[in-house]
């Protein structure tokens, strides 16, 4: 087992009070598993990804534990986490295009980083070059400044750099959002290849693009308003979703062959609730077509079929 998250609660400190962006999230990612995390903007999926690697100074760990390979991560302790970052948990940030220091040659940047981790750049360089070649980058990028590379190239450099020490867990946060569709596909396949080659053992692919994650993920986890809504193997989530939110999300996707001039593509009406004062009970209640009296009580996240967990009163019965 690579990653185990138990009842993780993280909030953002704002001037108007705490925003509970992650409110009791529990799941596991097995060795070699790619898990897609999907949901609307503001559902807590990026917060989840960031919490596992680095809480920024607005984020506060409220409760819950995270263990990687049986070892608990001190996610609330920024300094103690440094020992785990890069080696056991790593991240490809949302802002991969601007993640590299603009005034340092990429090779120098890597050398500085390895040096800070007590590793030799000279010894690591052949492997680095091999992996750059794997993602289609020539060795010369190491002598380039970030501005000399295209956005896609920077993205791949960050991918190689983040996984250079074969982390147990990689969080890929919206890695394809800023790319065109053909590059998206290439990046997605590279993620799978990195997993297959063992450069990364477990992966959390955070995205709002269900169709992309469906192609590469083994499991898909749907989040809504800081909680888990549904978690199941990819094809189950896409073909037989049980949670009404997942059903509506899937229903909002365009279908191949459908003519949308005849039938308008529907979205989900309404917006996710604010998380400063989240509503009691099921948080999707206000937008849910199936809502009934019992939804005023929070539904438990329970296994309704093998490897299929849902938080909905209607799903189990």
């Amino acid at each position: 087992m690579t990653l185990q998250v138990d009842d993780l609660r993280v909030c953002y400190r704002t001037l108007m009070g705490e925003v509970r962006a992650l409110d009791g999230v529990s799941f596991t990612v097995a060795d070699g598993e790619i898990m897609g995390v999907v949901g609307e903007s503001g559902c807590g999926k990026s917060t989840l990804g960031k919490s596992l690697v680095r809480l920024d100074n607005r984020m506060k760990h409220v409760g819950g534990t995270v263990t990687v390979d049986g070892e608990p991560l001190p996610i609330a302790d920024d300094r103690a986490m440094n020992r785990f970052r890069f080696t056991s948990v790593s991240i490809i940030p949302q802002y991969a295009m601007s993640a590299l220091n603009p005034t340092r040659r990429i090779g120098r940047l890597v050398a500085d980083l390895l040096d800070a981790h007590g590793m030799s750049y000279a010894a690591t360089r052949p492997e680095l070059v091999r992996r750059l070649a794997l993602v289609g980058l020539p060795e010369t990028v190491l002598d380039s400044y970030p501005i000399e590379l295209s956005g896609g190239m920077k993205q791949r450099v960050v991918l190689v750099l983040s996984t250079l020490r074969d982390p147990a867990l990689l969080v890929a946060d919206e890695v394809t959002s800023a790319l065109d569709v053909s590059t998206q596909r290439a990046v997605a396949q590279t993620l799978v290849e990195f997993r297959d080659r063992g450069y990364v053992r477990g992966m959390l692919v955070v995205t709002h693009d269900i169709s992309l994650v469906y192609q590469i993920a083994d499991t898909i986890m749907v989040m809504y308003a800081g909680r888990l809504a549904e978690k199941a193997p990819s094809d189950v989530v896409v073909t037989e979703p049980l949670h009404p939110y997942t059903q509506l999300l899937i229903g909002a996707l365009p279908e191949v062959g459908a003519r949308f001039s005849e039938r308008r593509l529907t979205g989900i009406p309404g917006r996710p609730p604010g998380l400063r004062n989240p509503p009691q009970g099921c948080r999707f209640r206000a937008r849910c077509p199936l809502a009934f009296d019992k939804c005023a009580e929070q539904p438990p996240f329970v296994e309704v079929a093998e490897n299929h967990q849902v938080a909905c009163w209607k799903a189990g019965s």
């Binding site: 690697v53 680095r54 940030p93 601007s98 005034t103 800070a116 400044y145």
Partner: protein
Amino acid sequence: MRRYFGRKLAIYALTFVVAVTLNWIIPRFMPGDPVLRMLTRTSVSNPEAIAPMRAYYENVFGLDVPLWKQYVNYWVELFQGNLGVSVWLFPAPVADVILHAVPYTLALLLPSILLSWWAGNKVGALAARSTWLDNTALPVSYALTATPYMWLGILLAWGLGIVAGVFPVAGGYSFELRPDWSWVFVGSLALHWFLPFLSLFLVAFGGWAIGMRNLIIYELEADYASYLAALGAPRRLIRRYAFRNALLPQITGLALQLGVLVSGALVTEIVFAYPGLGHLILQAIQNQDFFLLQGAFLFIVIGVLVANFVIDIVYVLVDPRTRTGMQGAA
């Protein structure tokens, strides 16, 4: 690269021509007549002698030809290194007078500019990560940078010169000494140099410290800093990168501040009666000495332009992004 510097050089050449022309025009539009002033100084009693003397002086200063010709002559003489004859210190050539003053001004300017820039950046960077230092150094810096040069100069002269009696308050060296290369003289030079230097240093220091503090805070919030932190890089490395990147705008700031610093040095010299260019300019204005004024301004213009050009080159060396921009333009 060549095209970039070619364009820069053309801009500097144009600036130079405009500055020299203004420099020539302004004294001639000032009220007063330098020749008349010289005549009164000689206090000639015979009224008939005044006309030939006037003709003689106008010939010496080249004022007996039409204005356009004076202008052309000015440029011709300029390239021959001849800046004319001083009215105030007649008949000393302006070039000699200025060359005696320039070392004093440079000795004030160079250390105060460079040291304040260096120290301000260091302290600003420290303030960005220490709340204690931020709460003390920042208000002090704001007060310093808002202080007019001459006012701080007067305060320092009064406090450290007159009340404490540690430093002399006027002159480039002790009035009892003649310039030579003895230890006594050099010691006296250093003692007289310190207060004007300190007032220039302190005012500039405040500005640099504030700028650096804000830039560092901004850089530490940048994406590359969070990415490095997410990869477990120690704070030291992130701060080093932030410092290096924050220095770039400070270098540009140095180019922009040079003119201000030079004018600050001029008024500071006047406060301390320091025998540099500022002191000369004041005397030149008071004595309607066109030629000395022109010469002093010319030196300042050349100095500022050269310094800016040096900063342009430094900037290209330290920031790879400007280099790429030049390749794109070429």
